[in-house]
Symmetry: C2
Amino acid sequence: MLSPSDGVPHFPGELFAREIHQQPEALLGLLEHEREYAALAHAIAERAPALIRFVGHGSSDNAATYGVYAFGLVPHLTAMRDSISLSVYYDAALDFSASVVLALSQSGRTPDVVEYVERARSRGAFTVALTNEPGSELEQAADATLPLAAGAESAVAATKTYVNQLAALALLAGGIAGRGVELAEALRATAELLSRSLSNLEADVRPVAASFAYVGRMYAIGRGLEFATAREVALKLTETCRIAAEPLTATSLAHGPVAALDSLFPVWTIASRDASLPAVVEAAARVRDAGATIVASGSAADEIDAPYVLPVPAAPTPLLAPLLSVVPGQLFAAALSQTKGFDADRPEGLNKVTIAR
Amino acid sequence: MLSPSDGVPHFPGELFAREIHQQPEALLGLLEHEREYAALAHAIAERAPALIRFVGHGSSDNAATYGVYAFGLVPHLTAMRDSISLSVYYDAALDFSASVVLALSQSGRTPDVVEYVERARSRGAFTVALTNEPGSELEQAADATLPLAAGAESAVAATKTYVNQLAALALLAGGIAGRGVELAEALRATAELLSRSLSNLEADVRPVAASFAYVGRMYAIGRGLEFATAREVALKLTETCRIAAEPLTATSLAHGPVAALDSLFPVWTIASRDASLPAVVEAAARVRDAGATIVASGSAADEIDAPYVLPVPAAPTPLLAPLLSVVPGQLFAAALSQTKGFDADRPEGLNKVTIAR
C-alpha cells in the first residue's frame, strides 16, 4: 500500500499515511532512550513536586490531557494543563517553586511555550523540554531535555510524534513511581501489538470512512484516559478532512451539546475497558436517542450499540490503551481526506511549525 | 419587549430572554452576601492553599475557566479545572491536603461533582460548594457553602447563574487578596453598566442574528480571561440554536482548526482591551484569510476588521470584562433560536438538572 520510504510523496496524504505506519518503529526509537527517562524520572522524584504543569498546543496539548491521567494514576501526582496566557500575557506572579514543568512541542519552537518555560523557570520551576528536535529553542530555555525520538515527521498533521508523546509521558510517570522498567516492557509490547494490527485496522477503516464524505460536523467523545484520544481524533478530522469535529467528555455531552445532534451529525466514541466505560456507554445511548450515527472504537467498542464498530486490541495495561485507540481515528482521517480529495500532508492554512501567539 | 414576570412563558424562549435581562439584578443579589464571601475568603487565605481545584460541568466548567484567571491574577494562586474522572472513576490516590476545592453546580445535584467533593474532602481538601440551591446535596457534602443568589433560573440554558458564578469567583479571589471591598464596588458598577446597556445590545444583536439562520458550524475564540466567554457563547449557540459551535483559544485556532474554515463557517471573536488582545487580533486575521465571516464582540470589538461588530462597554476593571462580553452571545443565541423556531427554554434532549455521569 505504501511506496518505499524514499522521502518523496507520490500522492496527496502519502506522508501522513506513511507516518501512521511508522508508529511502532517510532515507539521503539523512544525506548532506546529508556535510561535518560529513568535518570530524569529519578531527578523529578527527588524533588517531590507538589504539582506537574504541562504546556503545549494542538496535539501536544492533547498529549498533556493524557499526561494528567498518567501522572495521577502512576506516581499519584497532581498534574494540570497550565494556562500559558496567565504567565505569558498577564505575567501573573505565581509561585512555581514546588512545580515541575513539562513543555511539549514537537518542533521545540512554539513561541509562547518557549516564553512560558523561561518565565516559569525564573519563578522557580524545574523545567523539562520534551521535543522531537534536538538543539531547539525550547531545549535551550529548559533545565532538562527528553528526546521524543519519533524520527522526522513531515506531514503537517502529527501522528507518530503524538503517540511518542503519550509513551514518553507514561515512561516518565512510571519512572517517577519506580515502575519505569515495567512501563518500558509494556510499551514494547504495545509497539508489537500495533505493528501486528495496523494493516487490519486500515482495512476495517477504509469502507467506513467512505460513508462520511459529506459529513460537516462531528463530536468525538471519550472519558478519563481516553479523553485525550477524543481530542486527538477530533483534531485529525478537523485538520485533514475539514470536518468541524469537537471533542467532548462523555459527561460534557449531556451538559448541553447533545441538544445539537441529529442524523447528519455523527459521533465518534472511544470505549476502552476501564472504570470510565459506563460513562461512555451511557453517553452513547444519549447519542442514539438523539438520532445520531455512532462510530465506536477502542478495545471495548463492542460494548457500544453502533452501526460502525472499529475495535482495537486491548493494551498490555489499561494505561496504554490510548496509544492504540487513536490509530483508527488517524487511519479514518487519512482515508476520508483522500476520498475528499484533500492533501492530509499539507492542510489548508497550516504549517508544520506553528508560530502563532 | 418582555412580558411581566408572572412566571408563565408566553412564547418559546421567553424565560431565557427574561433571565438574560435579570442579570444586573442577580448580580446585586449576590452582593448582598458580601460578608459571607469575605469571611470565607479569610478562611481560605489563612490556609494558604498550594492549589485551588475547580470542578463543574457545562456553564459551571466555563465559569471555572474564568476562575483560573481570577485566582491567578488577584491573589496569585495557582488554580486548575480538576479532572473529576481521575478521582471519581479511577480513585487516584492524590494528595489534597494543601488544596481548596471550589465545586460549582447551579443545582447542587450534579452526581459526579458531589462524589468528587466527598472524595477530595476525605483526602484532606477544604471543600466549598458554590450553588444556587440552598440545602442541596453538594452543600451537604462540602465543608462550606457560598450562595450564588441568582434567583430562580427556569430556562435550561444558564445565563444569570453563569454571570453570578463569574462574579462570585471574582469576589472570592478579591477577598483572599484583601481586595474584597474593591471588587464588590467594581461588581456593583458592572451591574449598573449592564443594566444601562442591555436594551441597546439587544437592538444591535437582533439584525445580526437573523443573518445566521442557516449556519451549521461556528468557532468562538477568545484568549486569557475571555476564553471562558468563548466557551460559554459556544455552549449557548450549541444548546439553543443547534449550531456545532466549538470554543478555541485564539492560539489553538492556528494549531489545526483554522484548516476547516471556509465562507460557510463563521467565527465569533471576543476581543477585550487587555494583554491578550494582540493574540485575538492575529487570530482574526487568520480567520479572514481563510475566507470565514467574523462576528467581533467585546470592549475592543472595533480593533477587529469584521462585517459584524457588537461592542460592549469597558468594564470598571479588565478582570470583570467577561461579565459584560458574554451578553451579546446570550442575546444572539436568544434571537437566533427564535428565528429558527426553537425553544431556548427547553432545548431538545436537555434537562435543567443534568444527572449524567
